[in-house]
Subunit: 191 residues, 2 copies
Amino acid sequence: MKKMEEKILAEATILPGGVLKVGSFLNQQVDTVFMKEIGEEIADLFGDDEISKILTIESSGIPIAISAGFAMGVPVVYAKKNKSSNISGDCYTTPVKSFTHGDTNNVVVTKEYISPDDRILIVDDFLAHGSALNGLINIVGQAGATVVGCVAAIEKGFQMGGDSLRAKGYRVESLAIVDEMTDSEITFRRD
Amino acid sequence: MKKMEEKILAEATILPGGVLKVGSFLNQQVDTVFMKEIGEEIADLFGDDEISKILTIESSGIPIAISAGFAMGVPVVYAKKNKSSNISGDCYTTPVKSFTHGDTNNVVVTKEYISPDDRILIVDDFLAHGSALNGLINIVGQAGATVVGCVAAIEKGFQMGGDSLRAKGYRVESLAIVDEMTDSEITFRRD
C-alpha cells in the first residue's frame, strides 16, 4: 500500500458532503516528517524528466509543492488567487472554480516566473473535478512552457478530473486515488 | 552579512509605496535551495527551545514555516483567512489587518491542532506593523499554549511591529531587519 493511502486510512476523516478531511497532516496542519517522504516519492517519479520548476496554487498546494521542490532542488512558483499590491508587472491569469468554497477566482502568476524553456511539474493537494490543474495547465500554455506532468496528493477518482486529463494525454500521478467513499469506508484504486 | 540580507540585496526590488518585492525567492516563487538554508538557520536559533509546533498564516508564511518545520522535524499549522467547508469543529479565531491588501480577515485555526502543552514558534515572511504576529500570538493564548518566540524572514524595522513585540517581552528573531528603505537603497539594522 502506498504511503499516502496508509496515512489517509490512519488519520483522515469523512465529513458530510463528501469532504475528505486531511487537516491533521496535509492542510491546516502539515506533518513535515511525512511530507519529506512524500516529496522524495515525487522526486523519484519525475527524477528523470528534467523538471525545471514546480507550479502550484495557494494555499493548500504550497506545502506539498515545497516538499517536492526540496527533494528535487528546483524552485516552486505558486499561483495567487487575487492580484495583490505586491504583484507587479504583467501576469498570466485564468479563472479557477473552487468546489470546496463554491466560488470562482482569477488565479495569477507573474510572467517573469515562467519562461518558454521551463519544464513544469504541476503539484496540488487535491484533484477532483480538475479545475485547479486545468487552470495551471492553461497558465503554463500561456507562457509557452512545457507541462511535463501533474501530481496530486489525493485524487478523487469518482469526480473524473484526473481521468479526463489522462485522456488528453497528460501524465497525472496521484499519490492516492480514492475511487469510492462512503460515510465510513474509503476504497482506493488498484492498478 | 546574514544570508537573508545578501539575498535581498541580490534579488529584491523596491516598488512604489514602500513595498519590498521578494517574489523571486520568498513568495510567488520560492527558491527551495535557499529556503532549506533559511530553515536550518531558524532551527539553529531555536534548536534548544523544545519547540513542538510551528504556527504561521496563509499563504506567504507557509513556505518559510515548512522550511523551518523540515529542519526542526516538527509539524506546521497554518491559520486560514476564512473558514471554509473543510474546516470542521471548534476554531480559534482573531481579526488580522493586512496592510498589503488593505483589508481585515478573521483568521482561523481548528482547536484540535494546538493544545495547552504546545511550545509554539510563530513564523511569517514579513513583520511590519505586527498585525499577523499579534493575531497568531492571540490564537496561541486562546489555546493556553506557550509562545516560545517569533521569526520573520524580513522585518521592516521602521514600522515598529517587531520592536513593540520585543518591548512586551517576546523573543523576535528576524532574518533581516530593514531599518530604512529609499527608492534605491536598503539599510539593514546592525546589532
